[in-house]
């Protein structure tokens, strides 16, 4: 049972990261490979805010959220807007976002150096709860709460607000959206901002969870994030949530029963499995485009 909970905590972070990915893909049909860099940079920033500026870890979360949104706007401006209208935009977007991500990581290296950073020990609350033989720390609850809260907030935004309707319109039919008077450029920028904000919070939450941040955390989660969105269905918010949690749980069980060194394979096992059986993912669109 403890394991199940651990799986859910880790899974909620995966889900939060993946939802940023799938949001951009769903609305704009683009894969933003700088998302992992946003994740990593925000983790380091979170630690700096707490360790050097004395912020409480709770305050670090909204700070990082805003920072992430700014990064998202920069990514959109540098890597995607200049490609508008080009017929190789999909492919070029992958490369340009890799490039911008690389630039972020280099700047990260400049500021923090290559070593792992940690939170100061006293930054974390020590409260924990016992529930029927299972131990949950306050920190874990907050991670779960923030993740779920943000994801549900996003779902609410997309389904119930004007902006969300605009995003869904652009996702389904950008031409029709334009005809309707939707400001597609503004919706695009906002989508990137939201997506990166979520990715940034995921980064700082993971840093909380493992009490460290290192340069390689981005690669690792990027691949898992990609696996999650394929399993869940590209462009499906529900899919990213379910897929993320499923991955968290699956990993925990794999470690339990097979061995910890095989943990990372789980994501790809799921990925290939889904691609063979149901390529559009669990919640993906019904049919792949025909002639």
């Amino acid at each position: 049972m403890q394991q199940v909970l651990n799986g859910i905590f880790a899974g909620s972070i995966y889900a939060l990261f993946a939802i940023g990915f799938t949001l951009v893909f769903g609305v704009l049909d683009r894969l933003n490979l700088a998302h992992a860099a946003t994740f990593t940079v925000s983790a380091f920033l979170g630690i700096e805010l707490v360790a050097d500026l004395g912020l409480s870890i709770w305050a670090a979360i909204p700070a990082v959220l805003v920072f992430g949104a700014l990064l998202g706007l920069i990514i959109e401006r540098l890597a995607f807007r200049p490609l508008k209208g080009r017929n190789d935009a999909h492919f070029a977007g992958l490369i340009s976002s890799i490039a911008v991500g690389g630039m972020f990581m280099a700047l990260l290296l400049a500021r923090y150096g290559p070593d792992t950073r940690r939170f100061p020990a006293e930054a974390f609350p020590t409260t924990d709860f016992q529930l029927g033989g299972v131990r949950i720390t306050l920190l874990q609850l907050v991670i779960l709460g923030v993740s779920l809260g943000l994801m549900l907030g996003l779902a609410f935004l997309v389904n119930n607000t004007g902006l969300g309707r605009g995003m869904r319109a652009v996702a389904e039919n950008p031409h029709a959206a334009r005809v309707l008077g939707v400001n597609v450029d503004r919706v695009t920028a906002t989508t990137f901002a939201i997506s990166s904000a979520l990715g940034a919070v995921a980064g700082v939450l993971l840093a909380f969870y493992v009490n460290s941040a290192q340069m390689t955390m981005g690669f690792n989660i990027e691949l898992k994030g990609l696996a999650v969105i394929i399993v869940g269905g590209m462009g499906s918010l529900k899919g990213a949530m379910v897929g993320g949690i499923a991955l968290g749980l699956a990993e925990v069980f794999a470690v339990q029963y097979v061995g910890s060194s095989w943990r990372d394979v789980v994501a790809f096992g799921m990925l290939f499995g889904i691609l063979l059986v149901r390529p559009q993912g669990l919640f993906g669109p019904r049919q792949v485009r025909e002639v």
């Binding site: 490369i95 700047l107 990609l226 096992g269």
Partner: protein
Amino acid sequence: MLSDYSATLTLIALTAIFAYSFYAVLLAGQLSLGQAGLASLAGFSATIVVPDDPIAGLSPLVVGIPVGMAVGALVAFLLGLPVMRLRGVFLAIATLGFGEMVRIVLINAEWTGGAQGTTLPKLVTPGIAWGALLLVAYWFWRLGGSRLGRALAALREDELAARAMGVDVSRYRMTAFVTSGAVAGLYGVLIAYFSRFITPDDFGFSAAVDGLVTAVVGGSLMFLGPLLGSAFLTSVPEVQRALGVEAGWIRPFLSSALLLVVILFLPGGLSSLIPRWRSPKVDPDVSPPELAPLPARGSPVLSLTGLGKAYGGLHAVRDVDLELRSGEVLGLIGPNGAGKTTLVNLISGLAAPTSGSGTVLGRELGPIGRGHLFAKAGVSRTFQHSKLFDRLTVLENALVGAHVVSRPTLLRRLLWLPSARRDEQRALAQAGAQLTRVGLGDRAGVPAGELAYGDRRRLEIARALAGHPTLLILDEPAAGMNHVEARELSTLIRSLADDGITVLLIEHNVRMVLETCTRILVLNFGEVIAAGDPATIAKDPVVIEAYLGSDGPADTRV
């Protein structure tokens, strides 16, 4: 100092080979990122079989290289089977995932040494590295002018049009994939015995990304691309070092920024800066290939019974019966959305019927994926919104059209066999003849994307004709043409019919249809509402109403 340069030179060669493995799939328009995983498997497999001592005076690599390439090719084939049908981003992610799985499996395996890695003797000299590179570059150079190379370029530009020209898309995609695997395998073996120490982590995500970046920076439109990309990217850190830029963060920052600049402003990569030499000239003394004679007038060409296509609840085409015989020019007219293009997609094998049946030149209409077989059977077509291969020249477009009547040349080109040149020339003659027929003979070297509109339509026809079709389907060929151009087109179509080609013509220009066709079929809402010869159709009130519209419920005037 000298050994420094020797290492750099070798590294340039090896990085270029790795980039070629990406190039091999980019040629076909696929973004596969599993090459690092393939290289890893090949490298580690080679460590098992490569002996410690030379064999008969030859380097032990003589065993290692073929094994590595075979492993790379085989695994690529196995990976390709499930993954080939994925497109674009999905393919990239799946192959990336594959690479990651390989890394983890190998890290956990004992025979690779796990994270500790394996130590190996240094067997790769700059000579061997450059020798291998030159062979790989040679292969891709010869590929460029071959039938296969052109088919890959076509399928990268427009898969559907390539299929309609008879290119077996799945098979060629797999060929590119397997080639990529073999080249990645070669790289894996060489880098192992150059670095003298490898771990599975060396072939992870960042290695895959580096390889992709090299291929993209160099450019995937020309065979020198990977070499240029490798030379450039390997020298950037050297230049930075020479300029006193310290290691640390500035170098990766500048490299990434450079990558961004290249992709934004130089989409074809560095190799796009090299002026392309023009296509080979057509040798006037060589005659077109021996082509099978067209069927006799009056023999059946196509037969449709109750044919229908429904998308969900929407009937695009409903219950169409049609017989077409050789020598006819059949016009298909009807208002917008009447189902004409859908019907034609069914006939040319690019869509599958949901009801009824039909036979075209002996081929049963059935599930899609076999579209290229219709081209082989003698069906050729143009598209409503022109689907030219824009980055290929006019002549190359026509050459792709001649795919079904020309012979594969790559293997013979590698050996510079004269018979390959003869076959190429024959294909060129065929393509050139069709270009002349439509009046584009003097624009052969122009990239198709730069043609004026009328010329684009004509090139589409020339391309379709290059395949020596029995049935030629023209989908709105006169769209956007003025009366004079339309009349010229009409004359051309009649001359084609005189030559024995059966023509099926979709057009909105009703006057042109009335002048050109021997028989006319009128569609509305997916059904045939009238059929007959031009004179009858022109006066048919049902037809007139379908076009001009009715006046409303109370009015029955025509």
